[in-house]
């Protein structure tokens, strides 16, 4: 992140850094965290940043905001390579990698418009993970399979 001696993206004091996001998916990460709607904190987004590990990556920093387990699960759907760092007083207090989940519950809408979970029923969506790389999930109700962009597009 340092070029010469000048920081390109500011360090944050407290909050969350989502690193190693595949290049091009940083905006999607902000979207699924609903950081495109009601922003009341500073957000920094690096797109196409050189990375030793990945060639290029995106990086997201959100000040004074910590992620709930459900939000980390959402990130794992679109960026299983990402790491989530909890920052306290400029230091990494906790670090999580986000392995793909065994099941996907309540965070993705079924893409089948005729699935019973798209009726106004008191249930959350449930998907079984059929394949992890590339991710393919199967609705436990209608048995429709979803993958790739279709999953990202339907994150609640």
């Amino acid at each position: 992140m340092v070029e010469g001696k000048e920081l390109k993206i500011e360090k944050i004091r407290n909050g969350t850094v989502i690193d190693h996001v595949p290049s091009g998916l940083g905006l999607k990460v902000l979207k699924i965290l609903h950081m495109d709607e009601d922003i009341n904190t500073s957000v920094f987004l690096g797109i196409h940043v050189p990375s030793k590990k990945m060639g290029f990556k995106d990086i997201v920093k959100i000040e004074n905001r910590f992620l709930a387990p459900k939000e980390i699960a959402k990130i794992s759907l679109i960026a299983p390579s990402a790491t989530v760092n909890k920052i306290k007083d400029y230091d990494i207090a906790e670090k999580y990698s986000v392995p793909p989940p065994g099941e996907v519950i309540g965070i993705v809408k079924c893409s089948n418009p005729n699935c019973v979970t798209n009726l106004n029923e008191p249930v959350v969506t449930e998907f079984r993970v059929v394949l992890t790389n590339p991710l393919r999930i199967k609705c436990r109700y209608c048995e429709r399979e979803m993958e790739g962009k279709e999953i990202i597009h339907n994150i609640i």
């Binding site: 005729n114 699935c115 019973v116 029923e121 249930v123 436990r140 109700y141 209608c142 048995e143 429709r144």
Partner: protein
């Protein structure tokens, strides 16, 4: 079960109540479930018309299920949404049987189809089974194709290209043995032990003349059967329109009425099993 299905008296399910919730129209499935329950000495609750239920007042399916579950010992449901039976099972304490969910599955139809095939041949292994007609939207052929591929049958998918077997079903089948896919029944009729015919629905075609042309070329009649094996059986989930000529009814190939009857003993067996009577 067959003697009981034909009327031999018993009281295996006396005192038990079946609720049939058909949110979509049905003749055979509903009647055969109701007959099955009554032949076993049980009672049946049902509504004449889904429009007369509180669902039409905006009640959720979940609430309807909770209520009917408290009035009965087992529920049979048909609904236009995929996954409806699974949702019902989540909210019911008693067993729920799927009698068709949208374009999803129709598992009790599959069981009676399998029963009919097994009655004729005593096995599924290496049987050559052709599924003819609308393979895209027909839920009965989806469940059946998956079951038969698991049982070692050789499958033939015969349909107009635009009504071919959906990708996700092909994916579940391909892993075992690649089915033969063709749009011409004449090419494969001589190979088959079972020909399972389904209706090609007019409303799937934007152009009526296109429908007429296609529907005509999939008609099963005596001249087609001249090329078939002698012991070929012809099945159909019914209702048929004109995809099987009435003259075929009088040949030894015709199994579709026996197949429809088999809905009773098979559903009797299912009801007994889920209610803990063997």
């Amino acid at each position: 079960m067959i003697p009981y299905a034909k009327g031999k008296e018993n009281d295996f399910l006396r005192g038990k109540i079946l609720a049939t919730l058909f949110f979509e129209p049905s003749t055979r499935t509903r009647f055969s479930f109701e007959t099955a329950m009554q032949r076993l000495g049980g009672g049946v609750l049902s509504f004449a018309d889904p429009k007369s239920t509180s669902l039409s007042k905006g009640e959720t399916l979940a609430d309807t299920i909770r209520m009917m579950d408290s009035y009965s010992d087992v529920i049979v449901i048909r609904h236009s949404y995929e996954g409806a039976a699974r949702l019902a099972a989540k909210f019911a304490e008693h067993p729920v049987i799927n009698a068709g969910d949208g374009a999803g599955q129709h598992p009790t139809q599959t069981l009676l189809d399998l029963f009919t095939i097994h009655n004729s041949f005593g096995t599924f292994k290496n049987l050559r089974i052709g599924l003819l007609g609308d393979l895209k939207y027909g839920r009965t052929v989806h469940s059946l194709a998956i079951a038969l591929s698991n049982l070692g049958s050789k499958l033939y998918f015969i349909s107009p290209k635009i009504l071919g077997m959906p990708e996700h079903i092909m994916r579940e089948i391909h892993e075992k043995e690649k089915p033969v896919v063709t749009d011409n029944i004449n090419d494969v009729i001589g190979d088959l032990d079972v020909l399972y015919v389904t209706r090609i629905q007019k409303e799937r075609f934007p152009d009526i003349t296109e429908y007429m042309k296609i529907a005509g070329s999939y008609r099963v009649d005596l001249s087609l059967l001249e090329k078939s094996k002698k012991d070929l059986i012809i099945m159909h989930p019914l209702p048929r329109v004109d995809e099987i000529a009435p003259e075929v009814d009088y040949t030894s190939h015709a199994k579709y009425f026996e197949q429809a009857f088999n809905g009773v003993p098979v559903r009797m067996a299912i009801l007994s099993m889920v209610l803990g009577v063997r």
